[in-house]
Amino acid sequence: MLSAIIVLTLLATVFGLILGFAAIRFKVEGDPIVDQIDSLLPQTQCGQCTYPGCRPYAQAIANAEANINQCPPGGETTMLALADLLGVDPLPLGAEHQAEPEATVAFIIEDTCIGCTLCIQACPVDAILGAAKQMHTVIESECTGCELCIPPCPVDCIIMQPVKQETRNWKWPYPVQTLELRK
Protein backbone atom coordinates (compact mmCIF):
# COMPACT_ATOMS: atom_id res chain seq x y z
CA MET A 1 0.00 0.00 0.00
CA LEU A 2 2.64 2.45 1.09
CA SER A 3 4.88 1.58 -1.80
CA ALA A 4 1.97 2.15 -4.21
CA ILE A 5 1.38 5.58 -2.79
CA ILE A 6 5.04 6.45 -3.04
CA VAL A 7 5.29 5.19 -6.61
CA LEU A 8 2.21 7.11 -7.67
CA THR A 9 3.40 10.28 -6.01
CA LEU A 10 6.76 9.95 -7.67
CA LEU A 11 5.18 9.32 -11.04
CA ALA A 12 2.89 12.31 -10.64
CA THR A 13 5.82 14.53 -9.75
CA VAL A 14 7.89 13.37 -12.68
CA PHE A 15 5.06 13.84 -15.17
CA GLY A 16 4.18 17.17 -13.65
CA LEU A 17 7.74 18.33 -14.11
CA ILE A 18 7.82 17.10 -17.69
CA LEU A 19 4.56 18.85 -18.47
CA GLY A 20 5.68 22.04 -16.82
CA PHE A 21 8.95 21.99 -18.68
CA ALA A 22 7.18 21.34 -21.98
CA ALA A 23 4.79 24.19 -21.36
CA ILE A 24 7.66 26.62 -20.95
CA ARG A 25 9.91 25.12 -23.57
CA PHE A 26 7.31 24.90 -26.33
CA LYS A 27 5.37 28.02 -25.50
CA VAL A 28 3.78 29.46 -28.62
CA GLU A 29 4.81 33.03 -29.14
CA GLY A 30 1.72 34.37 -30.80
CA ASP A 31 0.32 37.75 -31.66
CA PRO A 32 -0.74 39.75 -28.69
CA ILE A 33 -4.14 38.50 -27.66
CA VAL A 34 -5.94 41.68 -28.70
CA ASP A 35 -4.76 41.25 -32.27
CA GLN A 36 -5.85 37.65 -32.28
CA ILE A 37 -9.30 38.54 -31.01
CA ASP A 38 -9.56 41.42 -33.43
CA SER A 39 -8.73 39.17 -36.34
CA LEU A 40 -11.71 36.95 -35.49
CA LEU A 41 -14.17 39.82 -35.43
CA PRO A 42 -16.01 40.58 -38.65
CA GLN A 43 -14.70 44.20 -38.80
CA THR A 44 -18.14 45.53 -39.50
CA GLN A 45 -17.36 48.42 -37.13
CA CYS A 46 -21.05 48.68 -36.33
CA GLY A 47 -20.72 49.34 -32.63
CA GLN A 48 -23.56 46.96 -31.76
CA CYS A 49 -21.31 45.40 -29.16
CA THR A 50 -21.55 48.78 -27.35
CA TYR A 51 -17.92 49.52 -28.14
CA PRO A 52 -16.92 52.04 -30.80
CA GLY A 53 -15.66 49.53 -33.33
CA CYS A 54 -14.21 46.06 -33.47
CA ARG A 55 -10.80 46.81 -32.02
CA PRO A 56 -12.11 48.45 -28.85
CA TYR A 57 -14.36 45.44 -28.36
CA ALA A 58 -11.38 43.14 -28.82
CA GLN A 59 -9.52 45.20 -26.24
CA ALA A 60 -12.46 44.90 -23.86
CA ILE A 61 -12.62 41.13 -24.29
CA ALA A 62 -8.91 40.88 -23.66
CA ASN A 63 -9.31 42.90 -20.47
CA ALA A 64 -12.19 40.62 -19.50
CA GLU A 65 -14.53 43.60 -19.50
CA ALA A 66 -16.81 42.27 -22.21
CA ASN A 67 -18.44 38.93 -22.98
CA ILE A 68 -17.74 37.01 -26.13
CA ASN A 69 -21.36 36.98 -27.26
CA GLN A 70 -21.84 40.66 -27.98
CA CYS A 71 -21.16 40.72 -31.70
CA PRO A 72 -24.39 40.31 -33.68
CA PRO A 73 -22.87 40.44 -37.20
CA GLY A 74 -20.42 37.69 -36.29
CA GLY A 75 -23.21 35.52 -34.96
CA GLU A 76 -22.59 32.12 -33.52
CA THR A 77 -19.55 31.43 -35.66
CA THR A 78 -17.60 34.32 -34.21
CA MET A 79 -18.72 33.56 -30.67
CA LEU A 80 -17.55 29.95 -31.03
CA ALA A 81 -14.26 31.02 -32.56
CA LEU A 82 -13.69 33.40 -29.67
CA ALA A 83 -14.57 30.74 -27.13
CA ASP A 84 -12.12 28.44 -28.84
CA LEU A 85 -9.34 31.02 -28.88
CA LEU A 86 -9.76 32.07 -25.31
CA GLY A 87 -10.50 28.63 -23.97
CA VAL A 88 -13.74 29.71 -22.34
CA ASP A 89 -17.21 28.19 -22.48
CA PRO A 90 -19.43 29.29 -25.35
CA LEU A 91 -22.15 31.71 -24.31
CA PRO A 92 -25.62 31.72 -25.78
CA LEU A 93 -26.37 34.57 -28.14
CA GLY A 94 -29.32 36.86 -27.47
CA ALA A 95 -32.56 35.45 -28.83
CA GLU A 96 -32.61 37.92 -31.71
CA HIS A 97 -29.22 36.76 -32.94
CA GLN A 98 -29.84 33.05 -33.00
CA ALA A 99 -29.82 32.59 -36.72
CA GLU A 100 -26.81 33.39 -38.85
CA PRO A 101 -27.24 37.02 -39.85
CA GLU A 102 -28.00 37.72 -43.49
CA ALA A 103 -25.31 39.82 -45.14
CA THR A 104 -26.61 43.20 -46.25
CA VAL A 105 -25.22 46.35 -47.81
CA ALA A 106 -26.49 49.93 -47.67
CA PHE A 107 -28.04 51.47 -50.73
CA ILE A 108 -28.78 55.18 -51.20
CA ILE A 109 -31.94 56.05 -53.06
CA GLU A 110 -30.36 58.69 -55.20
CA ASP A 111 -33.57 60.54 -56.10
CA THR A 112 -34.18 61.40 -52.48
CA CYS A 113 -30.60 62.13 -51.42
CA ILE A 114 -29.98 65.81 -50.66
CA GLY A 115 -26.21 65.54 -50.48
CA CYS A 116 -25.88 66.47 -46.81
CA THR A 117 -22.69 64.38 -46.23
CA LEU A 118 -23.97 63.23 -42.84
CA CYS A 119 -23.80 59.60 -43.86
CA ILE A 120 -20.26 60.04 -45.13
CA GLN A 121 -19.24 61.21 -41.70
CA ALA A 122 -20.94 58.23 -40.08
CA CYS A 123 -19.45 55.52 -42.28
CA PRO A 124 -16.67 53.77 -40.35
CA VAL A 125 -14.93 52.46 -43.44
CA ASP A 126 -15.26 55.40 -45.85
CA ALA A 127 -17.47 53.39 -48.15
CA ILE A 128 -19.70 56.32 -49.17
CA LEU A 129 -18.69 58.58 -52.00
CA GLY A 130 -20.01 62.09 -52.57
CA ALA A 131 -19.52 65.74 -51.78
CA ALA A 132 -21.73 68.46 -50.30
CA LYS A 133 -24.90 69.09 -52.32
CA GLN A 134 -24.05 66.15 -54.57
CA MET A 135 -25.64 62.79 -54.78
CA HIS A 136 -23.96 60.11 -52.61
CA THR A 137 -23.34 56.50 -53.50
CA VAL A 138 -22.34 53.48 -51.47
CA ILE A 139 -19.40 51.47 -52.80
CA GLU A 140 -21.01 48.07 -52.52
CA SER A 141 -17.83 46.09 -52.23
CA GLU A 142 -16.56 48.20 -49.34
CA CYS A 143 -19.77 48.43 -47.31
CA THR A 144 -19.72 46.24 -44.21
CA GLY A 145 -23.45 46.47 -43.63
CA CYS A 146 -23.06 48.13 -40.22
CA GLU A 147 -26.13 50.36 -40.68
CA LEU A 148 -24.43 53.29 -38.97
CA CYS A 149 -25.28 55.58 -41.86
CA ILE A 150 -29.01 55.03 -41.52
CA PRO A 151 -29.85 57.11 -38.39
CA PRO A 152 -28.00 60.30 -39.45
CA CYS A 153 -29.77 60.57 -42.82
CA PRO A 154 -32.29 63.40 -42.51
CA VAL A 155 -34.44 62.21 -45.43
CA ASP A 156 -34.31 58.46 -44.76
CA CYS A 157 -32.99 57.64 -48.17
CA ILE A 158 -30.65 54.83 -47.12
CA ILE A 159 -31.95 51.29 -47.14
CA MET A 160 -30.28 47.99 -46.42
CA GLN A 161 -30.33 45.39 -49.19
CA PRO A 162 -29.26 41.79 -49.06
CA VAL A 163 -25.93 41.14 -50.75
CA LYS A 164 -26.62 39.93 -54.25
CA GLN A 165 -26.34 36.18 -54.58
CA GLU A 166 -24.22 35.21 -57.53
CA THR A 167 -23.07 31.85 -58.70
CA ARG A 168 -19.62 32.95 -57.60
CA ASN A 169 -20.50 33.31 -53.92
CA TRP A 170 -23.25 30.70 -53.78
CA LYS A 171 -22.99 28.10 -51.05
CA TRP A 172 -24.33 24.56 -51.11
CA PRO A 173 -26.98 24.21 -48.43
CA TYR A 174 -26.49 21.97 -45.45
CA PRO A 175 -28.23 18.67 -46.21
CA VAL A 176 -31.70 18.23 -44.76
CA GLN A 177 -32.13 14.92 -43.06
CA THR A 178 -35.50 14.22 -41.62
CA LEU A 179 -34.29 11.28 -39.60
CA GLU A 180 -31.48 13.07 -37.88
CA LEU A 181 -33.24 15.33 -35.48
CA ARG A 182 -30.12 16.07 -33.55
CA LYS A 183 -28.09 18.99 -34.69
Partner: protein
Protein backbone atom coordinates in the same frame (compact mmCIF):
# COMPACT_ATOMS: atom_id res chain seq x y z
CA UNK B 1 -43.08 22.40 -63.59
CA UNK B 2 -41.68 22.36 -60.08
CA UNK B 3 -38.47 20.43 -59.96
CA UNK B 4 -36.42 19.68 -56.91
CA UNK B 5 -32.67 20.01 -56.99
CA UNK B 6 -30.70 17.92 -54.53
CA UNK B 7 -27.00 17.36 -54.94
CA UNK B 8 -25.54 14.62 -57.12
CA UNK B 9 -25.19 11.67 -57.26
CA UNK B 10 -28.78 11.09 -58.17
CA UNK B 11 -28.66 7.33 -58.15
CA UNK B 12 -27.76 4.80 -55.50
CA UNK B 13 -26.59 1.22 -55.48
CA UNK B 14 -29.65 0.30 -53.43
CA UNK B 15 -27.52 -1.39 -50.82
CA UNK B 16 -28.99 -0.72 -47.42
CA UNK B 17 -28.02 -0.94 -43.81
CA UNK B 18 -30.77 -3.45 -43.06
CA UNK B 19 -29.45 -5.69 -45.84
CA UNK B 20 -25.98 -5.53 -44.36
CA UNK B 21 -27.23 -6.49 -40.92
CA UNK B 22 -29.41 -9.26 -42.36
CA UNK B 23 -26.41 -10.75 -44.08
CA UNK B 24 -24.47 -10.81 -40.83
CA UNK B 25 -27.39 -12.54 -39.13
CA UNK B 26 -27.60 -15.03 -41.95
CA UNK B 27 -23.91 -15.80 -41.59
CA UNK B 28 -24.50 -16.73 -37.94
CA UNK B 29 -27.18 -19.25 -38.83
CA UNK B 30 -25.08 -22.37 -39.56
CA UNK B 31 -23.29 -22.03 -36.25
CA UNK B 32 -26.59 -21.61 -34.41
CA UNK B 33 -27.91 -24.77 -36.01
CA UNK B 34 -24.85 -26.71 -34.86
CA UNK B 35 -25.18 -25.12 -31.44
CA UNK B 36 -28.67 -26.58 -31.13
CA UNK B 37 -27.45 -29.97 -32.31
CA UNK B 38 -24.71 -30.11 -29.70
CA UNK B 39 -26.17 -28.22 -26.77
CA UNK B 40 -29.91 -28.38 -27.17
CA UNK B 41 -32.45 -25.60 -27.59
CA UNK B 42 -31.18 -23.36 -24.84
CA UNK B 43 -29.44 -21.01 -27.20
CA UNK B 44 -32.61 -20.44 -29.20
CA UNK B 45 -34.47 -19.43 -26.08
CA UNK B 46 -31.58 -17.11 -25.26
CA UNK B 47 -31.77 -15.51 -28.66
CA UNK B 48 -35.52 -15.06 -28.52
CA UNK B 49 -35.44 -13.44 -25.12
CA UNK B 50 -32.58 -11.18 -26.13
CA UNK B 51 -34.18 -10.11 -29.40
CA UNK B 52 -37.52 -9.29 -27.79
CA UNK B 53 -35.81 -7.39 -25.01
CA UNK B 54 -33.52 -5.55 -27.41
CA UNK B 55 -36.36 -4.43 -29.63
CA UNK B 56 -38.36 -3.29 -26.63
CA UNK B 57 -35.45 -1.32 -25.16
CA UNK B 58 -34.59 0.11 -28.56
CA UNK B 59 -38.17 1.27 -29.07
CA UNK B 60 -38.25 2.77 -25.60
CA UNK B 61 -34.97 4.60 -26.12
CA UNK B 62 -36.12 5.90 -29.49
CA UNK B 63 -39.37 7.14 -28.01
CA UNK B 64 -37.55 8.90 -25.21
CA UNK B 65 -35.15 10.44 -27.69
CA UNK B 66 -38.07 11.42 -29.93
CA UNK B 67 -36.90 9.49 -32.97
CA UNK B 68 -39.12 7.78 -35.53
CA UNK B 69 -39.40 4.09 -34.71
CA UNK B 70 -39.79 2.33 -38.03
CA UNK B 71 -36.51 3.17 -39.80
CA UNK B 72 -34.38 2.52 -36.75
CA UNK B 73 -36.08 -0.66 -35.60
CA UNK B 74 -35.98 -1.85 -39.18
CA UNK B 75 -32.23 -1.51 -39.49
CA UNK B 76 -31.74 -4.83 -37.63
CA UNK B 77 -28.87 -3.43 -35.62
CA UNK B 78 -30.61 -4.11 -32.31
CA UNK B 79 -31.42 -7.64 -33.44
CA UNK B 80 -27.82 -8.27 -34.33
CA UNK B 81 -26.59 -6.96 -30.99
CA UNK B 82 -29.11 -9.20 -29.24
CA UNK B 83 -28.10 -12.31 -31.15
CA UNK B 84 -24.40 -11.73 -30.53
CA UNK B 85 -25.09 -11.16 -26.86
CA UNK B 86 -27.17 -14.31 -26.64
CA UNK B 87 -24.37 -16.29 -28.27
CA UNK B 88 -21.93 -14.97 -25.71
CA UNK B 89 -24.07 -16.04 -22.74
CA UNK B 90 -24.48 -19.66 -21.64
CA UNK B 91 -27.55 -21.50 -22.88
CA UNK B 92 -30.16 -21.95 -20.14
CA UNK B 93 -29.07 -18.70 -18.56
CA UNK B 94 -31.88 -17.22 -16.49
CA UNK B 95 -34.07 -14.81 -18.44
CA UNK B 96 -33.32 -11.84 -16.24
CA UNK B 97 -29.64 -12.18 -16.90
CA UNK B 98 -30.23 -11.83 -20.60
CA UNK B 99 -32.61 -8.92 -20.10
CA UNK B 100 -30.14 -7.07 -17.89
CA UNK B 101 -27.35 -7.61 -20.37
CA UNK B 102 -29.53 -6.41 -23.24
CA UNK B 103 -30.57 -3.39 -21.26
CA UNK B 104 -26.99 -2.34 -20.74
CA UNK B 105 -26.12 -3.07 -24.34
CA UNK B 106 -28.97 -1.15 -25.92
CA UNK B 107 -29.68 1.64 -23.49
CA UNK B 108 -26.29 2.35 -21.95
CA UNK B 109 -23.77 1.36 -24.58
CA UNK B 110 -25.80 2.45 -27.57
CA UNK B 111 -28.45 5.07 -26.94
CA UNK B 112 -26.82 7.06 -24.19
CA UNK B 113 -24.00 7.68 -26.63
CA UNK B 114 -26.38 8.85 -29.34
CA UNK B 115 -27.56 5.65 -30.96
CA UNK B 116 -26.21 3.54 -33.77
CA UNK B 117 -23.03 4.98 -35.22
CA UNK B 118 -22.12 7.08 -32.22
CA UNK B 119 -21.29 4.39 -29.68
CA UNK B 120 -17.59 4.10 -28.96
CA UNK B 121 -17.90 0.63 -27.44
CA UNK B 122 -19.34 -2.54 -28.82
CA UNK B 123 -22.81 -2.73 -27.23
CA UNK B 124 -23.02 -6.51 -27.10
CA UNK B 125 -19.68 -6.72 -25.36
CA UNK B 126 -20.62 -4.02 -22.86
CA UNK B 127 -23.77 -5.94 -21.99
CA UNK B 128 -21.78 -9.14 -21.67
CA UNK B 129 -19.07 -7.64 -19.51
CA UNK B 130 -21.57 -5.97 -17.19
CA UNK B 131 -23.28 -9.26 -16.38
CA UNK B 132 -20.00 -11.14 -16.33
CA UNK B 133 -18.74 -8.87 -13.59
CA UNK B 134 -22.00 -8.66 -11.69
CA UNK B 135 -23.15 -12.26 -11.95
CA UNK B 136 -20.02 -14.32 -12.55
CA UNK B 137 -21.56 -17.59 -11.46
CA UNK B 138 -24.51 -17.44 -13.85
CA UNK B 139 -22.41 -16.31 -16.75
CA UNK B 140 -19.76 -18.98 -16.40
CA UNK B 141 -21.90 -22.05 -15.83
CA UNK B 142 -22.21 -23.73 -19.19
CA UNK B 143 -23.95 -26.92 -20.08
CA UNK B 144 -21.70 -29.65 -21.38
CA UNK B 145 -22.65 -31.03 -24.79
CA UNK B 146 -25.70 -33.27 -24.74
CA UNK B 147 -23.56 -36.20 -25.75
CA UNK B 148 -21.51 -35.78 -22.60
CA UNK B 149 -24.21 -35.07 -20.08
CA UNK B 150 -26.73 -37.40 -21.63
CA UNK B 151 -29.27 -34.67 -21.02
CA UNK B 152 -31.34 -33.69 -24.05
CA UNK B 153 -32.65 -30.16 -23.76
CA UNK B 154 -35.84 -29.62 -25.71
CA UNK B 155 -37.28 -26.22 -26.52
CA UNK B 156 -39.85 -26.51 -23.71
CA UNK B 157 -37.19 -27.64 -21.28
CA UNK B 158 -35.03 -24.70 -22.21
CA UNK B 159 -37.91 -22.27 -21.84
CA UNK B 160 -38.80 -23.63 -18.44
CA UNK B 161 -35.20 -23.62 -17.33
CA UNK B 162 -34.80 -20.06 -18.34
CA UNK B 163 -37.84 -18.83 -16.44
CA UNK B 164 -38.01 -21.20 -13.49
CA UNK B 165 -34.48 -22.46 -13.20
CA UNK B 166 -35.69 -26.06 -13.38
CA UNK B 167 -35.04 -28.45 -16.26
CA UNK B 168 -37.68 -30.86 -17.57
CA UNK B 169 -36.82 -33.67 -15.22
CA UNK B 170 -36.97 -31.44 -12.21
CA UNK B 171 -33.28 -30.88 -11.75
CA UNK B 172 -31.89 -27.36 -11.76
CA UNK B 173 -29.50 -26.86 -14.67
CA UNK B 174 -26.63 -25.75 -12.52
CA UNK B 175 -26.23 -29.24 -11.16
CA UNK B 176 -25.44 -30.26 -14.68
CA UNK B 177 -23.39 -27.30 -15.62
CA UNK B 178 -19.68 -27.34 -15.97
CA UNK B 179 -16.92 -25.00 -16.80
CA UNK B 180 -16.16 -24.30 -20.43
CA UNK B 181 -13.09 -25.99 -21.86
CA UNK B 182 -11.11 -22.77 -21.61
CA UNK B 183 -12.15 -22.33 -18.02
CA UNK B 184 -11.35 -25.89 -17.20
CA UNK B 185 -7.88 -25.73 -18.67
CA UNK B 186 -7.20 -22.52 -16.83
CA UNK B 187 -8.23 -23.74 -13.40
CA UNK B 188 -6.41 -27.02 -13.85
CA UNK B 189 -3.28 -25.26 -14.99
CA UNK B 190 -3.26 -23.16 -11.88
CA UNK B 191 -3.35 -26.40 -9.93
CA UNK B 192 -0.19 -27.46 -11.71
CA UNK B 193 -1.67 -30.07 -13.97
CA UNK B 194 -0.11 -30.57 -17.37
CA UNK B 195 -2.17 -29.96 -20.49
CA UNK B 196 -2.08 -33.55 -21.67
CA UNK B 197 -3.27 -34.68 -18.26
CA UNK B 198 -6.14 -32.22 -18.30
CA UNK B 199 -7.37 -33.06 -21.75
CA UNK B 200 -7.20 -36.81 -21.88
CA UNK B 201 -10.16 -38.64 -20.65
CA UNK B 202 -12.35 -35.61 -20.20
CA UNK B 203 -15.51 -35.64 -22.26
CA UNK B 204 -15.67 -31.93 -22.76
CA UNK B 205 -12.65 -32.05 -25.02
CA UNK B 206 -13.09 -33.23 -28.56
CA UNK B 207 -10.63 -34.00 -31.35
CA UNK B 208 -9.51 -30.44 -31.93
CA UNK B 209 -10.57 -28.42 -28.95
CA UNK B 210 -13.65 -28.27 -26.78
CA UNK B 211 -16.08 -30.99 -27.78
CA UNK B 212 -18.89 -29.49 -29.87
CA UNK B 213 -17.27 -26.10 -29.74
CA UNK B 214 -14.79 -27.01 -32.42
CA UNK B 215 -17.56 -27.55 -34.98
CA UNK B 216 -19.58 -24.56 -33.93
CA UNK B 217 -16.53 -22.39 -34.26
CA UNK B 218 -15.75 -23.80 -37.67
CA UNK B 219 -19.31 -22.91 -38.66
CA UNK B 220 -18.75 -19.36 -37.42
CA UNK B 221 -15.67 -19.26 -39.55
CA UNK B 222 -17.57 -20.43 -42.63
CA UNK B 223 -20.15 -17.70 -42.04
CA UNK B 224 -17.42 -15.14 -41.57
CA UNK B 225 -15.67 -16.12 -44.76
CA UNK B 226 -18.95 -15.79 -46.60
CA UNK B 227 -19.28 -12.27 -45.18
CA UNK B 228 -15.83 -11.40 -46.46
CA UNK B 229 -16.74 -12.85 -49.85
CA UNK B 230 -19.91 -10.75 -49.84
CA UNK B 231 -17.83 -7.69 -48.93
CA UNK B 232 -19.88 -7.11 -45.79
CA UNK B 233 -16.73 -7.17 -43.70
CA UNK B 234 -13.09 -6.81 -44.64
CA UNK B 235 -10.56 -9.58 -44.12
CA UNK B 236 -8.11 -7.40 -42.22
CA UNK B 237 -9.46 -7.67 -38.68
CA UNK B 238 -10.25 -11.41 -38.57
CA UNK B 239 -7.01 -12.39 -40.26
CA UNK B 240 -4.89 -10.10 -38.13
CA UNK B 241 -6.60 -11.11 -34.93
CA UNK B 242 -6.63 -14.87 -35.50
CA UNK B 243 -3.19 -14.79 -37.05
CA UNK B 244 -1.77 -13.06 -34.01
CA UNK B 245 -3.53 -15.44 -31.67
CA UNK B 246 -2.23 -18.48 -33.53
CA UNK B 247 1.29 -17.08 -33.77
CA UNK B 248 1.67 -16.16 -30.16
CA UNK B 249 -0.05 -19.24 -28.78
CA UNK B 250 2.04 -21.34 -31.16
CA UNK B 251 5.17 -19.72 -29.86
CA UNK B 252 4.38 -20.50 -26.24
CA UNK B 253 3.11 -23.95 -27.14
CA UNK B 254 6.39 -24.74 -28.82
CA UNK B 255 8.26 -23.54 -25.77
CA UNK B 256 6.25 -25.67 -23.37
CA UNK B 257 3.37 -27.75 -24.65
CA UNK B 258 2.47 -28.89 -21.16
CA UNK B 259 1.97 -25.42 -19.75
CA UNK B 260 0.44 -23.72 -22.77
CA UNK B 261 -2.48 -24.96 -24.83
CA UNK B 262 -2.07 -25.49 -28.56
CA UNK B 263 -2.94 -22.82 -31.12
CA UNK B 264 -5.74 -25.00 -32.38
CA UNK B 265 -7.22 -25.16 -28.94
CA UNK B 266 -7.03 -21.39 -28.59
CA UNK B 267 -8.56 -20.89 -31.98
CA UNK B 268 -11.43 -23.30 -31.66
CA UNK B 269 -12.51 -23.07 -28.06
CA UNK B 270 -14.18 -20.07 -26.63
CA UNK B 271 -15.14 -17.02 -28.60
CA UNK B 272 -12.07 -16.28 -30.70
CA UNK B 273 -13.70 -17.05 -34.04
CA UNK B 274 -17.04 -15.48 -33.21
CA UNK B 275 -15.14 -12.47 -31.93
CA UNK B 276 -12.87 -12.21 -34.92
CA UNK B 277 -15.53 -12.36 -37.61
CA UNK B 278 -18.57 -10.92 -35.92
CA UNK B 279 -17.66 -8.83 -32.90
CA UNK B 280 -14.32 -7.21 -33.60
CA UNK B 281 -15.56 -6.37 -37.09
CA UNK B 282 -18.45 -4.30 -35.76
CA UNK B 283 -17.74 -1.32 -37.99
CA UNK B 284 -18.98 1.36 -35.60
CA UNK B 285 -16.45 0.60 -32.92
CA UNK B 286 -13.56 -0.81 -34.95
CA UNK B 287 -10.87 1.04 -36.76
CA UNK B 288 -11.96 2.15 -40.19
CA UNK B 289 -8.76 2.41 -42.19
CA UNK B 290 -7.19 -0.71 -43.61
CA UNK B 291 -3.89 -0.40 -41.79
CA UNK B 292 -5.78 0.59 -38.67
CA UNK B 293 -7.85 -2.56 -38.97
CA UNK B 294 -4.77 -4.72 -39.11
CA UNK B 295 -3.29 -3.09 -36.00
CA UNK B 296 -6.66 -3.31 -34.30
CA UNK B 297 -6.88 -7.04 -35.07
CA UNK B 298 -3.35 -7.66 -33.88
CA UNK B 299 -4.11 -5.80 -30.67
CA UNK B 300 -7.17 -7.89 -29.98
CA UNK B 301 -5.34 -11.11 -30.75
CA UNK B 302 -2.56 -10.21 -28.35
CA UNK B 303 -4.90 -9.11 -25.61
CA UNK B 304 -7.03 -12.24 -25.94
CA UNK B 305 -3.98 -14.41 -25.46
CA UNK B 306 -2.68 -12.37 -22.57
CA UNK B 307 -5.99 -12.39 -20.75
CA UNK B 308 -6.58 -16.07 -21.37
CA UNK B 309 -3.12 -17.07 -20.23
CA UNK B 310 -2.35 -14.71 -17.42
CA UNK B 311 -5.48 -12.69 -16.70
CA UNK B 312 -8.19 -13.26 -14.16
CA UNK B 313 -10.78 -14.49 -16.63
CA UNK B 314 -10.66 -17.65 -18.73
CA UNK B 315 -11.93 -15.84 -21.83
CA UNK B 316 -10.64 -12.47 -23.01
CA UNK B 317 -12.41 -11.62 -26.24
CA UNK B 318 -14.88 -9.17 -24.72
CA UNK B 319 -12.27 -7.28 -22.72
CA UNK B 320 -9.84 -7.29 -25.61
CA UNK B 321 -12.44 -5.86 -27.97
CA UNK B 322 -13.50 -3.17 -25.51
CA UNK B 323 -9.91 -2.17 -24.83
CA UNK B 324 -9.13 -1.89 -28.50
CA UNK B 325 -12.36 0.08 -29.06
CA UNK B 326 -10.76 2.82 -27.00
CA UNK B 327 -7.77 2.85 -29.27
CA UNK B 328 -9.72 2.83 -32.55
CA UNK B 329 -9.99 6.62 -33.07
CA UNK B 330 -6.27 7.02 -32.47
CA UNK B 331 -5.48 4.20 -34.85
CA UNK B 332 -7.70 5.82 -37.46
CA UNK B 333 -5.94 9.10 -37.10
CA UNK B 334 -2.46 7.70 -37.52
CA UNK B 335 -3.22 5.24 -40.27
CA UNK B 336 -4.82 7.44 -42.88
CA UNK B 337 -4.25 5.98 -46.31
CA UNK B 338 -2.03 7.70 -48.84
CA UNK B 339 -4.22 10.03 -50.83
CA UNK B 340 -4.12 9.76 -54.62
CA UNK B 341 -1.25 11.81 -55.97
CA UNK B 342 0.07 12.76 -52.56
CA UNK B 343 3.19 11.72 -50.72
CA UNK B 344 5.16 10.08 -53.46
Amino acid sequence: MQLNTPSSPHIHSGYQLSQLMQRVLLALLPAIVLYVLFFGWGIVVNILIAVVAALAFEALALLLRKRPLAPYLGDYSAVLTAVLLALALPPLAPWWLIVVATFFAIVFAKHLYGGLGYNPFNPAMIGYVVVLISFPREVTSWLPPEAVSGQVVSFIDALRASFTGILGNGIPPDTLSMATPLDHVKTQLTQNHAISEIITGNGIFGQLAGSGWEWINLAFMVGGIWLIYKKVIHWYIPVAMLGTLVLISGLFWLIDAERYASPLFHLLSGGAILGAFFIATDPVTASTTNRGRILYGIGIGLLVYIIRSWGGYPEGVAFAVLLMNMLAPTLDYYTQPRVFGRGR
